[in-house]
């Protein structure tokens, strides 16, 4: 075996990541690889930052190579190391932290930097760019204030940022220099439709606007346009383009123009140094979309392994906007010229616009807005330069209208030739996908992503890939093939819940046996989930397995970082009395409780109680009439209220009374995740009902019931379930909704995530429009409460689970002798 060559890579973005994948596939043992990454993290999918910003994905979802990948391939990855010098004589690179690595071959992939308009104020705090995860984190932080944001730049990135910030609750204005949005990818008509769509979502768009300066003393307060208009803002995002980061290469004496100059094998002016990605310039062009960058990765990898046959060839790339609900697609050249013709289809009512630019009966450019399913088909004809004169009359209607075939999307996909491109980001064609499905026995979307990369980047071709799976596998393809509950089973939460009912499984061992668990007694993920499902489904028959509950639910208090506990008694609807407060004060003194705090749920928390003292604390609290507040439970927590008509001059109904009624009816119930509620006496909403799991807003004519809000990891206003007239109706609807969630939610899935999964309309239909079904939900909840409404504190004061609270033995020196 020959000695391994040393390969050093500067930069850890998508292009070098892809290059290494090709390299390890072609020649796994050829190189010892060292990567310097200026960002302090692993390789992730930068084009998916917008879904992270809007909250549709988390950072974990978009990681391409986790830490394990680097270990598996023996790659030395320096995270957070910016390379500051390349010494071409010594063949070494040096990082800002002084780390030096020598190379036989060097790959520069320093990417690009966002362009900052040098207007006054551009360096004020609150002015951000949109490039990496740190920018997204900064925007999310800024969005928490719910202030006003200005996005400068109405291109792809700027609009995705604007939509994401809007989704996060900010008031957003987009400033764009040109007359229409995304003018590089869209013609004016499609740009106009896009503008209208964004405006309808509450995003203000100002075109033909040039920024004069950014206002503010110590931080951003707004921007001023050339025409004198002032727009107040607490956040300004500049998304006006990128610039190749070529300074390092230039200092090393490599040939640099706009970007680092490379030949079509990705070699720089130094044959031992390659460069690829957004930092390079090939044949006078620089690139920012992912498809050409991936092509560069392939070329560089094959050249490094000695295969000189591959060359970088410029091809057109399709553009899509990753904003949920906006479909647009463009590719090729769509400017007007004398020798060009066009076919246009407009459907104003449906918001559809399609335009094909033709020259000599061949497609030159495509712009689709509103309906983009035929994009890949048009693109295919564009690339092949098909003579379309035969189908010219019906061309614009798309593939389904050719040759008299049915309007069936499956037929359309089936009719695509094997070399039709499905995934534009990764350049994967249909044949490669169907081939991989058959030869490797792939079963689902994740398999296809892992083996072919198709749909693994921006995800807009996911539908097409699913159709290919379905065509290739027939009935064997199960699109609902979901993530397993945990490593102990291949089944997802929904399957497990269904089978518990169908097979009447009533103990955890029965579930594990019948559903073929691969471990002997589960793990800390599945056991609490199964315990909840069984408690929920068989309230009268199932014996709660405390050893499968998380410690807080086992000892009915909240564990703290030092192993002590906190205790929160119920204060119904947030109401209390001198007697209750006195009892709490006495307990605090008697047990030397170090901290007492008011909670966000209108109750009092006593922190720092030793576990051994818990039963005695509860005994004293119990004497004053307190029961457990279940502040630790995946179950009903609080019902927050305002003072309503009892005291408030604006109150429209007895919100306090209704809140107490709800809490007394629903306490003790277990739910998939915690359930927090509130009742506000008028739309001023002092009890903040519109960010709760379930909230009620009293109005003159009755009660508006809200649900699916969130104010934790995510922040989200509630959705309206419906309006009812009486308190009794409120009780029935709220309880039925809670029971529907109890029966369908996945363990640890908050109500807003469940609602998003099931669909708001479906929930409204079942709870508001189907009285029989609502009543049945209500009755099942009431039945379950018969077994759930037992105060866990008084049970333990009477001796239940005594072993939990005392040490088994205390060794003294005598005992040890």
């Amino acid at each position: 075996m020959t000695e391994k060559q040393k390969l050093v890579v500067i930069g850890n973005g998508m292009a070098p990541g892809r290059m290494l994948e090709h390299l390890f596939e072609a020649a796994p043992d050829a190189f010892d690889v060292t990567i310097f990454n200026a960002e302090p993290r692993v390789n992730y999918d930068r084009i998916m930052l917008s879904p992270v910003l809007s909250g549709e994905k988390s950072f974990e979802d978009i990681i391409i190579h986790g830490d394990g990948w680097y270990i598996e391939h023996g790659v030395m990855l320096y995270k957070g190391h910016k390379v500051v010098e390349i010494d071409r004589q010594a063949k070494t690179v040096r990082s800002e932290h002084g780390e030096v690595a020598s190379y036989d071959k060097l790959v520069i992939a320093t990417g690009s930097a966002p362009f900052i308009i040098p207007v006054p104020g551009h360096n004020l705090p609150g002015v951000l760019t949109y490039r990496d995860l740190d920018d997204v984190d900064a925007m999310l932080l800024a969005a928490q204030s719910r202030g006003k944001a200005v996005v400068i730049g109405g291109g792809l990135l700027g609009l995705e940022a604007a939509a994401g910030l809007k989704e996060r609750g900010m008031d957003v204005t987009v400033i764009h220099l040109m007359p229409t949005l995304m003018e590089r990818q869209l013609d004016p008509a499609a740009g106009y439709l896009l503008e209208r769509e964004l405006e309808s979502r509450g995003i203000r768009v100002i075109t033909r606007a040039s920024t004069k300066k950014i206002l503010g003393e110590t931080r951003v307060e707004g921007i001023e346009l050339e025409d004198g208009t002032v727009i107040p803002a607490t956040l300004v995002v500049m998304a006006v383009g990128i610039r190749p980061s070529a300074a390092l290469a230039k200092e090393a004496g490599l040939s640099v123009n706009r970007g680092i100059v490379v030949n079509d094998s990705m070699q720089t002016s130094d044959p031992d140094i390659y460069a690829l990605g957004e930092c390079v310039e090939v044949n006078g062009n620089v690139y920012g979309l992912v498809a050409p960058l991936y092509q560069m990765a392939e070329v560089a990898a094959s050249h490094l392994t000695g295969d000189n046959s591959r060359r970088f060839v410029e091809t057109s790339t399709a553009t899509k906007l990753k904003v949920t609900g906006i479909n647009l697609y463009s590719v090729g050249d769509f400017t007007e010229a004398e020798d060009r013709e066009e076919i246009v289809l407009r459907d104003a009512a449906a918001g559809v616009y399609k335009r094909l630019v033709l020259k000599d009966n061949r497609i030159l450019g495509v712009v689709l807005y509103g309906e983009t399913a035929d994009g890949a088909w048009f693109f295919d004809h564009l690339k092949k330069q098909t003579d379309i004169s035969e189908m010219r009359e019906t061309l614009i209607f798309g593939q389904a209208y050719q040759g008299g075939s049915q309007l069936d999307p499956m037929a359309a996909v089936a009719a695509l030739p094997d070399n039709a491109e499905i995934c534009g980001c990764n350049g994967v064609c249909k044949g490669k996908i169907t081939g991989a499905i058959t030869s490797r026995g792939l079963k689902g979307l994740d398999d296809v992503r892992a083996h072919t990369k198709a749909s693994a980047s921006c995800g807009t071709c996911t539908g097409l890939v699913e159709q290919l799976l379905s065509l290739t596998l027939g009935d064997a393809y199960n699109p609902a093939a979901v993530t397993p509950m945990c490593g102990c089973t291949g089944l997802g939460h929904d399957d497990v819940r269904r089978l518990i009912k169908a097979k009447e499984l009533k103990t955890i061992p029965a579930v594990m046996q019948e559903l073929e668990w691969t471990t002997s007694c589960g793990c800390a993920k599945c056991r609490p989930a199964l315990n909840y499902y069984l408690v929920c489904d068989w309230p009268d028959e199932y014996a709660d397995d405390y050893q499968s509950r998380f410690i807080n639910e086992r000892v009915h208090a909240n564990i703290q970082k030092d192993g002590t506990y906190s205790v929160v008694p119920r204060m119904w609807g947030g109401m209390t009395s001198s007697k209750e407060l006195r009892a709490i004060a006495d307990v605090v003194d008697k047990f030397n409780i170090p901290a007492v705090k008011c909670t966000g749920g209108q109750r009092i928390d006593m922190l720092g109680i030793r576990k051994e003292d818990l039963p005695a604390v509860w005994a004293d609290l119990g004497k004053a009439g307190f029961v457990s507040g279940q502040a630790y439970a995946k179950g009903l927590r609080t019902v927050k209220t305002c003072v309503g008509t009892d005291w408030c001059r604006f109150g429209t109904q007895d919100s306090t009374g209704l809140g107490i009624k709800l809490e007394k009816f629903m306490w003790g119930s277990w739910t998939p995740a915690k359930l927090k509620m509130a009742v506000s006496g008028c739309p001023r909403n002092c009890s903040e009902a519109t960010c709760k799991d379930i909230g009620v807003i009293c109005v003159d004519s009755g009660y508006d019931i809200h649900f699916a809000g969130a104010a934790g990891l995510d922040i989200k206003g509630t959705e309206v379930l419906g309006h009812v007239k009486t308190e009794d109706e409120v009780m029935e609807h709220v309880v039925a909704l809670a029971q529907m969630y109890r029966e369908q939610g996945r363990y640890l899935e908050r109500i807003y995530k469940w609602a998003k999964r099931i669909g708001l309309d479906e929930i409204r239909r079942q709870i508001m429009d189907e009285p029989d079904r609502r009543k049945a939900y209500y009755d099942r909840f009431v039945f379950s409460q018969k077994f759930a409404q037992v105060d866990p504190w008084s049970e333990r004061v009477s001796g239940k689970d005594k072993h939990e609270f005392n040490p088994m033995a205390t060794l003294t020196l005598e005992a040890a002798e």
Binding site: A524, R527, Q547, I559
Partner: protein, 110 residues
Amino acid sequence: MNAMTQTWVKVGRIGDIPRRGARCVKNGDMSIAIFRTADDRVFALEDKCPHRNGPLSQGIVHDGCVTCPLHNWVISLETGAAQGADEGQTLSIPVRLEGDEIVLGIGGLA
């Protein structure tokens, strides 16, 4: 050798601990967690997660492991070693069953 000075002490009966559960034994300032698995094996670890000193005795016991209640580290009952990607080890203390009595080997570890 350590074993020379080790003392075996009876600390209780196996029935004192619930299956898939744990109880503590106080030995001076040290708290020792005694675990009982589903198949009635018994293990002893210092009651301190190697991560942030979480009380392992309060965790969920599954197969031969316990999951720490503070941040979900999974610790092997037999060796005290963190499982998966986490790194760290909790002190493991010799323990055996004599009939249904739990006997702990303490002292002499200096």
